[in-house]
Subunit: 308 residues, 2 copies
Amino acid sequence: MPNFETEKKQYFVGIEGGGTKFNCIIANHPDDVFETTRIPTTDPDETLDHIITFIKNFQNEFQIKAIGLGTFGPLDINKKSPNYGKISKTTKPGWSNFDILGKLKDKLPFPIALDTDVNAAALGEHLWGAGQNLESLVYLTIGTGIGGGVIINGKPIHGLLHPEMGHLLIPLSPQSDSPQGICPYHNNCLEGIASGPAIESIWGQSPEDLPEDHPAWILEAEYLAKGLMNIILAISPQKIILGGGVMKKPGLLELIRENILALLNDYVQHSSITNSIDTYILPPALGDFSGRYGAVALASEIYLAQGV
Amino acid sequence: MPNFETEKKQYFVGIEGGGTKFNCIIANHPDDVFETTRIPTTDPDETLDHIITFIKNFQNEFQIKAIGLGTFGPLDINKKSPNYGKISKTTKPGWSNFDILGKLKDKLPFPIALDTDVNAAALGEHLWGAGQNLESLVYLTIGTGIGGGVIINGKPIHGLLHPEMGHLLIPLSPQSDSPQGICPYHNNCLEGIASGPAIESIWGQSPEDLPEDHPAWILEAEYLAKGLMNIILAISPQKIILGGGVMKKPGLLELIRENILALLNDYVQHSSITNSIDTYILPPALGDFSGRYGAVALASEIYLAQGV
């Protein structure tokens, strides 16, 4: 009797966990996608149950090779830690200490790779997007929050925990009469003065409603450029990719590039910056899919590593 | 006739190029040192001639396996660049565009490995000092200038050029009535407000002459902690090692640790920071020799890589 089971097509599952929605994709590659969905981020059990149901609904149609999860944090991604796979302390109601990896493992008995949402997005862009063939890049997202992922020698960095670029300290603008930002933890941190909610708190309007010629964007470009300058000086990435909802405002990217050149003031002497800033700081080539494809890449890496 | 030539002991040469002095060591390991010397940094040709003479004087007594050079920058360390091995634009008179690697190669026909002084120091501490068995660490020196080296997965990072942590932007202290720093390139950069010369410009006295209970050290600890916070948030290193002349002031390291805990405000939830900051931010275990031994390590790596 033929084994039809083994003839089903095999796929990876990529899950990108964000503060407002979870994206889930069944794919092997950006050119080989079986299905994708979007689930609102509510309480952790409900959100994960929806994802697990989505995946199981298709289980008769394909075989899962492995799962990659790139999620918002702070997140314990140290495999030797007793809290590996848990969300750490977060302002997001109900999510502090949630064992997101454990919940998935319990219901989906496949290899599961874990990283931050932004490390996954950086990996996606590194493999299939704007950062191909580079040793190093930074992916920064500017939306409800601000976060950054880092690739060095082709791999996401973790170190002690993982980068938390949203909380970089930034000098306030001399023109600003705003307070020191909305972050409950830090004065003058990037997320507190330049995330979507920070823009709204300064100007009293949501970023989508602020016209392109509003002075809000002058200040926003200054703050993001100061954050990016610190990233350039600390890490020296070969490219920086800027994603997230706030970056969709037309003209903002160009303003940021101008501000960075002015701030660096010719100090970092490299043609990638001095002559071609337009290809040094750029939008994600994978659009809104960097994180999802990056999660597929995480799945693919654990699958290869396990030799299954 | 026996070949006495091959019976001479073999050594690496490590050269650490600093703004005020060049240190040169003939060694295989911190426990196997043949000779060491210190040469004042004057004009580039004179400085290098002294080093070359020092090495050649011993040539009858040992064989050179390879040379490692860790030097101040900015420095082009991209092997594919036409300017590989040259100092870039610097405020140091005579050194801009000096081909430091070319000059050494011309006179010393051995494999020569090149990196920044601070990457070399980070590597030295990683192999033989306070950062053994770690995947990642940062070495920051605070002296005449401020600079940082980074080890990720056991190797110094370069990226586009190399990190330039001295120029990280830092919010000025609300208590400060000082101007925006002495850096000719940037307002509010770490080197401009917290290097030795910056301390002297703010307080009118050299750092060595300022007593331990002078308010200068409160401000200095605040600024260095702000810079270190940005380094922690951007790179997430497993340890940070603080070297350089300014760090020799008794009590400063302890003040910095206190400031970092207050600034992070419990946001980075890792026991290395929350419970054991004293072993997370610490002085170099190799003392003033981190850079020199690191240069020996660079030599050893190129020697092994070349299979000689």
